[in-house]
């Protein structure tokens, strides 16, 4: 029976790509799929695009391909990524220019058409919040991006057209993997109809979900007490690789001579990651039910996946939009023993008095104590007052939330005078300058047919 091997690329914009080189060199891959877009990444890219309209894509794709494309080309490996972000054509042009300058040849396909901002800005349309049902009117004027999650179909078309490198904007993360599987294994996508058809797509989507977060599928970020230490050599982690057969059955593994761990524990942590209802994991191509999934641990970094069930997706696509939602400015500083806790409280009271005296407009002054309770809030038990004052040092992080940009920019300057006029033994002050814009996220749904009608596939050739 025919099978195909696909390897995980990056799991986010900024991830490490040497593990991908190891997968290409020793993993016997036909495809690499690389996810550069977390839910919030488009917010970062939107700021880039405001500065320079030629940007708005995940810029790491250029150095990544300069390093990896020669390795892939030599072995006939094809590459699919969503690094296009808000500007897939710009990303493809940058890749083309960079490859060309090195004398490298590649046929590049660009998938665009996920931008639905004009629709959300149209006052005639509703776009209710997917979680709380609120109406988009309250944020419409402040929207800065809105992108629909496209499915695997345009990726399949690009691969059928002979693409070596496929660059998309927002597509469902797992579709980056499902596309190559559908293409290589000849699965029906638009013509899926039987439970077996949907089951294969559900298996393919599950494979994509297991690989889309790079090292999280092979022992990275393994949440546990006393077990993570047993995972070998994370410094040389091998990102997960899947071998998938025509009937949809799949094996999760990694390249030989790499670190990390592929077993029942590490794979199921990733299986449920960022999933809500596990019986209805929606994607544009198939709705996945994980209820009958079986992960059979074969040892030696081999986990067999079966039992994913699928059904037809609905007539709408998910959209994630972002809207401007005020500013923040953050400061942190430390106080040392003795009486560190009381001194931190006294200094904080001086700052609160300054905010009031100057009538600095703000919604909230958020305070947490890194090293004591920043990660778990009141669920982290604190020592009593006497013990707190006996601690070696107390770090305070103060964050102002304000609708007023100038108030945010001036926040850091309320602090320096305390170095000479406040409580003793402070150090490590940071945050004098700088405010950053906050973005609210607006998940909603959009009509599928009209979005898909606007999806485009363009071609660029790099070559000597």
């Amino acid at each position: 029976m025919t099978s195909v091997r696909i390897g995980a690329g990056l799991g986010f914009y900024g991830d490490h790509w040497e593990p991908v080189a190891a997968s290409i060199e020793r993993g016997q891959l036909q495809f690499v799929a690389s996810d550069h877009l977390a839910e919030l990444t488009l917010a970062i890219l939107q700021k880039d695009r405001q500065r320079d309209p030629a940007l708005g894509y995940a810029r790491d794709v250029v150095p990544l391909l300069l390093r990896l494309w020669p390795l892939m080309q030599a072995r006939g490996v094809r590459f699919v990524c969503n690094a296009g972000g808000l500007n897939p054509v710009g990303a493809a042009q940058a890749v083309q220019a960079a490859l060309q300058a090195r004398g490298l040849k590649a046929r590049i396909a660009v998938v665009a058409g996920d931008d639905v901002l004009p629709r959300l800005q149209d006052p005639a349309q509703g776009f209710h919040h997917l979680f709380h049902g609120g109406h988009v009117d309250g944020v419409r004027e402040r929207l800065v991006f809105a992108n629909a999650y496209l499915g695997a179909a345009p990726i399949v078309r690009a691969l059928e057209g002979g693409a070596d490198i496929v660059i998309t904007g927002r597509v469902a993360d797992a579709a980056l993997f499902l596309g190559p599987l559908v293409h290589a294994l000849g699965w029906g996508l638009r013509d899926a109809s039987s439970p077996a058809d949907w089951g294969r797509l559900a298996q393919g989507l599950t494979v994509g979900h297991l690989l889309e977060c790079s090292g999280q599928g092979s022992g990275g970020n393994f949440g546990s007490q006393g077990w993570w230490q047993r995972i070998p050599d994370l410094a040389r982690i091998g990102y997960p690789i899947a071998e998938v057969w025509e009937d949809g059955s799949a094996l999760i593994t990694k390249a030989p001579e790499t670190g990390g761990l592929v077993n029942f524990d590490t794979v199921r942590q990733q299986l449920l990651y960022e999933v809500h209802d596990p019986h209805a994991y929606h994607s544009p191509d198939v709705v996945l039910d994980m209820g009958q999934i079986e992960l059979r641990d074969e040892g030696q970094h081999r986990v067999h996946l079966s039992g994913a069930q699928g059904s037809a997706p609905g007539p709408q696509l998910k959209v994630v939009a972002g809207y401007r939602d005020g500013y923040k400015a953050e400061v942190s500083w430390g106080f040392s023993w003795p009486d560190a806790w009381d001194k931190a409280q006294a200094a904080q009271a001086m700052i609160r008095a300054e905010l009031a005296r100057r009538r600095v407009p703000h919604d909230e002054l958020f305070v947490e104590y890194p090293g004591l309770n920043a990660a778990h809030g009141p669920l982290a038990p604190l020592p009593d007052a006497e013990a707190l004052n006996g601690l070696n040092e107390i770090w305070t992080r103060l964050v102002l939330r304000t609708p007023d940009r100038a108030a945010a920019e001036g926040f850091g300057r309320l602090f320096p005078w305390l170095a000479l006029s406040g409580p003793a033994f402070t150090s490590g002050f940071s945050g004098l300058h700088g405010a950053s814009e906050l973005l609210g996220i607006w998940p909603t749904l959009v009509d599928r047919v009209s979005v898909e009608a606007g999806v485009t596939l363009d071609w660029l050739e790099a070559g000597p």
Binding site: E39, Q225, F264, I293, D325, L379, P443
Partner: protein, 128 residues
């Protein structure tokens, strides 16, 4: 006197592992037993209401729960947990990646024999 039926309170970290993630303003958790003995305890002791009560002093959102017995796992969602979402959350841990640790702090009531069995039975997973 300690009889065999007396319950002890132990944090979930002793019998389970967990990962958390974010979607907009909701944090989700996978909570995993290492073996059938651990799964029986988790299935019995970890309910949506108890997890909600555990987080309530910090994050009073609603909790949803789905058991996945074939994976010896619970899927949980805690609503309204991220100050409106990662890009407007002022916390250091703006995406809730450390919140799985807060879930593993939750205490469950088990007998010493049950705890011993869950901790000493072999893991289903292969570990090198």
């Amino acid at each position: 006197m300690n009889t065999s039926d007396d319950k002890v309170l132990v944090p979930l970290a002793r019998i389970a592992h967990a990962r958390s993630g974010d979607k907009a303003d909701w944090v989700d958790f996978g909570l995993f037993a290492r073996n059938q003995a651990g799964w029986r305890l988790i299935e019995r002791e970890v309910t949506a209401a108890r997890v909600q009560a555990h987080f309530a002093p910090w994050l009073p959102g609603e909790v949803l729960l789905w058991p996945l017995p074939r994976l010896l796992a619970l899927k949980l969602v805690l609503k309204d947990a991220l100050q409106g979402g990662g890009a407007r959350n002022l916390r250091h841990d703006n995406l809730g990646k450390a919140m799985a640790g807060a879930l593993l702090r939750m205490e469950v009531a088990v007998t010493q024999a049950e705890l011993d069995e869950a901790q000493q039975s072999p893991t289903v997973a292969w570990w090198p």
